[in-house]
């Protein structure tokens, strides 16, 4: 049996969405490249505090042609001068560090998609700030949304989506193993490669080491599933190199740190209902993402080689734009938005 149908897709709006790039660090520059490659987005402004970047043309900063948009450090003046619809915000991992930036953007009446890891579930560590920004966003009729590949997808949204085919779920386990040898130099250093164990632990105890967002992923899952989890716990340990490791960017002696082993749990009355395990270290074998749901039916999902971080993070920001622009106002989390997807444009 063979059948054939003509297909007529739903027409999309032809109008370009007007974007401001806020932050032109490593992720911001990659975001700029990806935005400029799309025909449905138009860069109308760019903000950064780096004196070397202020005044430069965004197109030239990414090594391309001039686009007639210069970087400014005066976001208030920018929002007065241009009619922006959405900000792609990539400045810091921590919500308190970016609160004033969010306030400025929101007061200007512009929606935000942010890579700030703690925004993926802002109420966990900063309930007062989250309530305040949510109220401001509603008052101004704008949407604020934090996303990314992790947090924002692999260890929270993907397991939540998979529960959609379950009649009951009793536990959620996610494992992500990243071979840091294949990643950028800054990431290799960020995970402590080449440090002594003591140096790593000092930084970790000061909150300056490790992946930001794992506890927010636990909270996003717990809240989405309506489990009455009472505690979120996290442990960060170094992975110690058993032998010398040399990459393009770092040299690690045996006994030095090769990366991180970070785990977080959502606990209900002493029972671990959610277990997230992130290993990110040099020469890690068998890199992958895995989701295991115990329930009816059980689910065993695996992504071979994992979901590559840099391209994927930028993709989640850009792919969120149409959903965030169309969303109701407020400081939203992933379960309040339509399914993530890439759209040709």
């Amino acid at each position: 049996m063979e059948r054939r149908f003509a297909f007529v897709p739903v027409k999309l709006a032809a109008k370009k969405t007007r974007v401001v790039l806020y932050g032109l660090g490593a992720i911001g520059i990659r975001t700029a490249e990806a935005v400029l490659a799309r025909s449905d987005l138009k860069v109308v402004g760019a903000v950064d505090i780096d004196p070397d970047k202020i005044g430069e043309d965004v197109g030239e900063l990414i090594g391309g042609d001039r686009i007639g948009v210069a970087v400014t450090d005066d976001s208030a003046a920018l929002f007065q001068a241009v009619e922006a619809e959405v900000v792609l915000h990539t400045t810091s991992s921590f919500f308190p560090d970016i609160y004033a930036q969010m306030e400025g953007i929101t007061n200007a009446g512009v929606d935000t998609v942010s890579s700030t890891e703690e925004l993926s579930y802002p109420a966990l560590q900063h309930p007062e700030l989250a309530a305040k920004l949510d109220a401001l966003a509603r008052a101004k009729g704008v949407t604020v949304f934090g996303t990314g590949v992790n947090p924002g997808f692999v260890m929270d949204v993907l397991p939540l989506v998979m529960t959609g085919v379950c009649q009951e779920v009793t536990s959620v386990q996610v494992e992500r193993i990243v071979n840091a040898s294949t990643r950028r130099g800054p990431l290799q250093r960020k995970i402590g490669s080449g440090m002594s164990k003591e140096e790593f632990e000092d930084l970790a105890n000061g909150g300056r080491m490790g992946h930001v967002g794992l506890v927010e992923s636990v909270a996003l899952i717990a809240n989405g599933l309506g489990w009455e989890v009472d505690t979120v716990e996290e442990i960060l340990e170094p992975v110690i190199a058993p032998k010398q490791i040399v990459t393009e960017h770092v040299q690690v002696a045996p006994g030095q740190v090769a990366g991180i082993h970070q785990r977080a749990w959502g606990i209900k009355e002493g029972e671990k209902r959610i277990t997230l395990e992130l290993q990110m270290y040099l020469d890690a074998e068998d890199p992958h993402d895995a989701v295991v749901l115990e329930g009816t039916p059980p689910i065993h999902l695996r992504i071979e080689n994992g979901t590559a971080g840099d391209f994927a993070t930028v993709a989640t920001l850009i792919n969120a734009i149409p959903r965030v622009v169309a969303a109701p106002p407020g400081l939203l989390t992933a379960e309040q938005l339509p399914i993530p997807l890439w759209r040709n444009g």
Copy 2:
């Protein structure tokens, strides 16, 4: 480093959602069981045309205690008598067959979650009916949504969600291999087990054989990604048993049909951008679901043993209820709703 946070989930509404079960066949009965097991749903009515079921109590029909809700074949009278919020509709795979039922439910001002396979992308085969029902739903302020595990999740929503981490996607391939020996007798017969090749092909050419919804999955992906696919094609072939197969329900001689091999494509200017392949036959080896995205980054996802059909189909219906009740009016498809998820209740 160890950290611990108290977690306070967002409070859910305590009010039960009032549900009407519309259709009490195999899937409807399983749906009834699952609804009655939940504390956040209340069955306020049940509709079926089977004379053996009319007048029976729904609780007793599933082998449990009376719940005080008798099955009726008069849906109009039922909707006048009770204040229903949502219908769980499980009567037929084909949109034209259920149009009058949808019209009745919609005119009564009640939302619908339906297992009707063609509703997962109703505009592909029935654009006029889809436009008519969409207009009626908007006029009445109600939401109509068709879902399931396939179509509705494994071969359409899941690949769409995975594109959310991609900066570009050039092709989508999904493979689903189901070992029908582990499934119910009706399913084993539905895929042609024990038929001759000729009998199978006669039924297939008459449109009475094969999985319903594969072409709708192609359309849902194509529309979601905004690809200007122009043609959707489908081929259905029998899988022939190489040796005798005996299950609890059927006996298949060598040379007879053991199941289906069905493929569908989304084609743009002669190029296959979307490839869906479904194999469902007795003694199929290595059952699994797999999604392969070519793009940036590429994605290789695999669900070991696949997503079990019966529990998962019922789960998708029930899990859709909060999203459909909260959704704007219209005949919606999956990309217009928030992420699917199970919620404790």
